[in-house]
Every structure is written in structure tokens, then in C-alpha cells.
């Protein structure tokens, strides 16, 4: 019998809200953080709309670490977590401190210990003065789920008394340019699973969840938000950027998460989808969901509201999933207007109260063909 792992605290910084409550209220109203940025226009970017936290225009090579420390500290406060004993720390990200690489291209020296993803857990560990296992997952847009999977394993194996797991991604001009030049970005707005979707919108965020065993959480008398049950992983091994068109790799990740937990696909009530808003990714994801879940569970995507925060995205969406499971409410898919005739997903279009909400899958996929699905449940 597996130890039950609970989410006892969350911390989050997004362009749509700098606390779990503010983000939740904005999502319920279907708001979006996307807007045009004058600094990007002045610098010659073809697409200048993005979801950025307000202070992101000033280039700061320590920005990712600052966001990570603030969000992790918020999660610790929310959980009222005593920082003694072994506190594991798992952080996912895509690029590291993008500004440091950008400045290196202008001739400044590059210190990889400060710029690469491994700098994030070091910064948090130092700021919180915690001891325990720590790892940095460089698994691109699925990295938050990888970190949360490691958190589950650390609690179940007894390697840690508690785990702080999540992801961070500061705004990146490199990514803004790369996605734009790859023609993956929406000119107007990001519309996940919509018939008229035209691409993604770049975001930035930091999000962390505190994980503890059920026994410890109840001993501490903390009220959990949700449980994290299992992580499924797979790789398409197909193309550097494009997913397998039939979504088979995505299906395998979802299936594995369910198999590990002993949960039947028909028990899944809701899928917090990757929903990047690109034609290829949303098509593949829709096929994967349709194949595995013929009972048509609810499906949502939040990148129209908060943008795609790359390595932080699955951690941000895990926080949203935890809040939805706690409130038994599904926030709407921002910017969704018209169903795509190519698939028959049950897209959440208005905030919906779901008193019987029990199991949810938080899905995220990445360049390189990485697929992840995290099974979370109500408590």
C-alpha cells in the first residue's frame, strides 16, 4: 500500500496573480494577462504580446532565482511548514537564467553555476536554510511534473519528511524569438483547443507545492488541498519539436500514471490539459484524450489566461489543479469560443461546480517529445 502524499501548501507568481487566491479569482472570471509590451516592440520583436509579470522589462540575470525563492517561500508559509529535518527540494525549468545567456552574447562572462537550472535549488535551499535531497530537472515544458514526481518518490521512500517541488521560468527573449521564428506563436491571443487557434503565447511564472505524507499532515493538523498520486512519463523519440501526430506518446504517459495508481481511465473526471494553442500539439493531445477517455471527462487549458511559462507551466497547472480539487470548481478555458470539428473534447467553457470531482490529470509535454501526466485527487 502506497503512502498517500498530500499537497499542504502552494505558492505561485504568475502574470495573472501573485498569490494562489488572486490567480484563482482571475481564472474563474476567464481573465487573461496577455498584453502588448512596448520594450519588445522597441527591440524589434515581430510579436510583442506576452504574459509577463510587471517588473520583467528590466533585464536581471538573477530574476529566475528571485521568482523561485518568492514562490517557494510562499508555499512554505501557506503550509506552515517547519523547516527542520530533511526537506527535499525539486525544481524544474527549461532554460535557466535566460538573461545571463543573453548578456553573454553581448560579451559578458557566463558563469554556468549561476545561469544554469541547477542554480535554482541552490538559491532556494540557501534562502530557506533547509537541508535534504535537491535536484534540478532540465526537462523543458514538462519539468514541473518531473519535480512533483520526484517529490512523491522522496516522501514515499522516506528520504524526506516533506518536499518542496515545482518549477520556475523567468521571461526569456531567447524563447520569445525562438517560438516566434518557429511560427508557433499566436498573433492575437492563445485559444487552446479552439477551432481558430493559431499558436501559443509566452509567459513566465514560478510555482511550488509543499508535499507531505498523509500521516504527517494530519499530525501537524494542516488541511490539505489535494493528493498527488502518480506520475506517468514517456518520450515520442520522433522529432526535436513536433509531437507524434496521433498522440500515442501522450496517451502512454497518461496511461502509465493511471496504471501506477491502479485507477481506471473512467474514474478520471477532469484533465488539466497542456493546451498550448498550437495546431499540432492540441490536435495530438485531443487524439490522446479521445483514445483513452471515451467517457469524455471535462478538459481545460489555461495558457490563454497565463501564457506558456515553459518549465514552470506544469507546476503552475498543478497548483490550479490542486485549487480546483479543493474548491470542487473547474475554471473556464480562457479565450475558447468555437469547438474544433476535428475532435469532440468536453471543454470547460464556464466556471463549473463539480461536487463529485475526484481524480484529475495534469498533463504537460515538451520539445524533444517529452510527455508527462500527473494524477492528482481530491481529499
Amino acid at each position: 500500500m502506497n503512502v498517500k502524499v498530500l499537497v499542504t501548501g502552494v505558492g505561485i507568481l504568475t502574470p495573472l496573480g501573485d498569490s494562489p487566491d488572486r490567480l484563482w479569482q482571475a481564472l474563474i472570471k476567464g481573465q487573461t494577462a496577455a498584453r502588448a509590451w512596448p520594450d519588445l516592440e522597441a527591440e524589434g520583436f515581430r510579436i510583442t504580446t506576452a504574459c509577463r509579470i510587471d517588473d520583467s522589462a528590466r533585464p536581471d540575470p538573477k530574476r529566475g532565482r528571485k521568482l523561485a525563492v518568492r514562490a517557494a517561500s510562499m508555499a512554505v508559509r501557506h503550509a506552515d511548514l517547519p523547516l527542520d529535518g530533511k526537506i527535499a527540494l525539486f525544481v524544474g525549468a527549461t532554460m535557466g537564467e535566460s538573461v545571463a545567456y543573453e548578456q553573454a552574447a553581448e560579451g559578458k562572462p557566463l558563469d554556468l553555476a549561476q545561469a544554469s537550472i541547477m542554480a535554482y535549488p541552490h538559491a532556494i535551499q540557501q534562502a530557506l536554510n533547509i537541508q535534504g535531497p535537491q535536484r534540478a530537472y532540465a526537462t523543458a515544458c514538462a519539468a514541473g511534473n518531473y519535480a512533483l514526481g520526484a517529490g512523491i518518490a522522496a516522501i514515499r521512500s522516506g528520504k524526506a519528511n516533506a518536499a518542496i517541488a515545482g518549477g520556475v521560468e523567468p521571461f526569456s527573449r531567447i524563447a520569445m524569438t525562438g517560438f516566434s521564428r518557429s511560427r508557433a506563436m499566436a498573433g492575437d491571443c492563445c485559444r487552446p483547443f479552439d477551432r481558430d487557434r493559431s499558436g501559443m503565447q509566452l509567459g513566465e511564472a514560478a510555482a511550488f507545492l509543499v508535499l507531505e505524507s498523509e500521516a504527517r499532515a494530519y499530525r501537524r493538523n494542516v488541511e490539505p488541498l489535494a493528493c498527488v498520486e502518480s506520475l506517468g512519463l514517456s518520450c515520442d523519440a520522433y522529432h526535436p519539436t513536433a509531437p507524434l501526430p496521433d498522440g500515442q506518446g501522450m496517451s502512454r504517459a497518461m496511461q502509465q500514471a493511471l496504471y501506477k495508481a491502479g485507477i481506471d481511465a473512467t474514474e478520471v473526471d477532469w484533465i488539466c490539459a497542456h493546451g498550448s494553442g498550437t495546431q499540432a500539439s492540441d490536435n495530438a493531445e485531443a487524439k490522446a484524450i479521445e483514445r483513452l477517455f471515451p467517457h469524455q471527462p471535462h478538459v481545460s487549458g489555461y495558457k490563454g489566461a497565463i501564457g506558456h511559462s515553459l518549465g514552470a507551466a506544469t507546476a503552475v497547472e498543478a497548483v490550479i489543479t490542486a485549487l480546483a480539487l479543493r474548491h470542487r470548481v473547474l475554471p473556464p478555458t480562457t479565450n475558447f469560443r468555437n469547438a474544433d470539428p476535428e475532435f469532440t473534447l468536453n471543454i470547460v467553457q464556464q466556471a463549473e461546480t463539480q461536487p463529485s470531482l475526484r481524480w484529475a490529470l495534469n498533463c504537460g509535454y515538451a520539445f524533444g517529445g517529452l510527455n508527462s501526466a500527473l494524477l492528482m485527487g481530491a481529499v
Partner: protein
């Protein structure tokens, strides 16, 4: 099930190659030297430790964007800026469709890569049967060194590997910053002395010849 080392891999080109060429070359060399997997592609995992994968490509991509303007940067170079781009190239070349891990760091990342691989190979769901654990350097020198681990109830040829408490009997743990240096020391001690270990905050990976 337990994890066992089945094969050692050590690849170093004679000259330093640009990042994209280096990764492609390493992946093709790996394909030749891995000697085939004994399981289906979905049961293969990759566990790659690196400090600099994607770094040089990020700098080069942005230098190109500064030179020509962000609207004219070469989009083909963008995927290589991601730290997981090396593992992506290798997994495509070797048809590795199971877990795909890139761990950022030095010797701690090597420890984490082994730890994750041993965890997956020993799991009761038996979803991973073989794991390619690699350390990679691509900036100043291009080097890739590591082991294939296999899940088995029987002990294959090379020896045993396990995650453990502190090993007191050996020399102090190696704390090299470069993941390939840490992996190289680990493997050399294993080959020369018959046993070796690598340590991080959470424990020890201990490897012993059969």
C-alpha cells in the same frame, strides 16, 4: 527487480566540435556502442547529467538575433538552446521512448541520474527495463561517459549497483563540478579497484564488480 550495470560507454571526439555537430556525433557513436537494447523502446529510459547542454547554443542563438534582429534569427537553432536537447537527440537516435530525464548539475546530477534510474528499474510496475545513464559535457570539451543499467532478477556480467547509506571503507567521495569528470572517476575506480561510489546529500550510489 534490481538494477545491474551491463555495459560501460565512453565517447570522446579527437577535437572539440560545435554543439549541434557534437551532439549529433555523440548520438551516432552511442548508437554504435550501446550494443542494442534487450527490451522494447517503451521500456528504455535515459538519465542524462549535464551542466552545459544548451548553454552554448543559447548564447549563439541570441548573438545571431542581436546581429540580424529578433525577427531574423535562425529558427532551426532554437530547439538546441534547451537543456534537454541532447537527451532528445539521443533518444530519437536510439529509440528510447520511456522516461527521458535531463538533470542539471555536476557530480550531484550524476548521483541523481543513477538514483532515478535505479528507482525506475527497481519499480514494481516494471515499466523500465533498461536505462542509459550518461554524463555529458559539451562546452569546452565534448565528452559522454556512462553506463547501461538493466533490470533483472539475475546478476549480469559487470556487477551490482545500488543506492545506499554512506560507504565508509572507500576514499572520500569525488566532488568534481564537471559531471563527466565525476562519472569518469566513478567508472575508473570501478574498473581498477572493483568498487566505487558517488555521494550526494541524500545518499550514496555504490557499484561493485561481480
Amino acid at each position: 527487480m534490481h538494477a545491474y550495470p551491463r555495459r560501460i560507454i565512453d565517447i570522446k571526439p579527437e577535437k572539440t566540435l560545435p554543439y549541434d555537430e557534437g551532439i549529433a556525433w555523440l548520438a551516432s557513436q552511442l548508437k554504435q556502442r550501446v550494443d542494442g537494447f534487450n527490451c522494447n523502446p517503451e521500456a528504455r529510459g535515459i538519465y542524462l547529467a549535464t551542466m552545459d547542454s544548451g548553454a552554448a547554443a543559447s548564447v549563439a542563438f541570441w548573438a545571431n538575433a542581436l546581429k540580424h534582429g529578433p525577427g531574423f534569427a535562425n529558427p532551426a537553432d532554437f530547439p538546441l538552446t534547451l537543456a534537454n536537447s541532447s537527451a532528445a537527440v539521443v533518444s530519437q537516435m536510439l529509440e528510447i521512448q520511456g522516461p527521458n530525464y535531463t538533470l542539471s548539475g555536476g557530480s550531484d546530477a550524476v548521483y541523481a541520474a543513477f538514483s532515478q534510474a535505479i528507482h525506475d528499474l527497481s519499480a514494481s510496475d516494471e515499466s523500465v527495463q533498461e536505462g542509459l545513464v550518461l554524463a555529458l559535457d559539451v562546452s569546452e570539451t565534448t565528452r559522454c561517459i556512462g553506463m547501461i543499467l538493466t533490470a533483472s532478477d539475475n546478476q549480469p556480467s559487470l556487477g551490482t549497483i545500488r543506492e545506499d547509506g554512506v560507504v565508509e571503507s572507500l576514499a572520500p567521495p569525488y566532488t568534481a563540478e564537471s559531471p563527466t569528470l565525476a562519472m569518469s572517476t566513478f567508472i575508473q575506480q570501478f574498473l581498477n579497484r572493483g568498487e566505487s561510489y558517488i555521494q550526494a546529500g541524500e545518499g550514496t550510489i555504490y557499484c561493485r564488480k561481480r
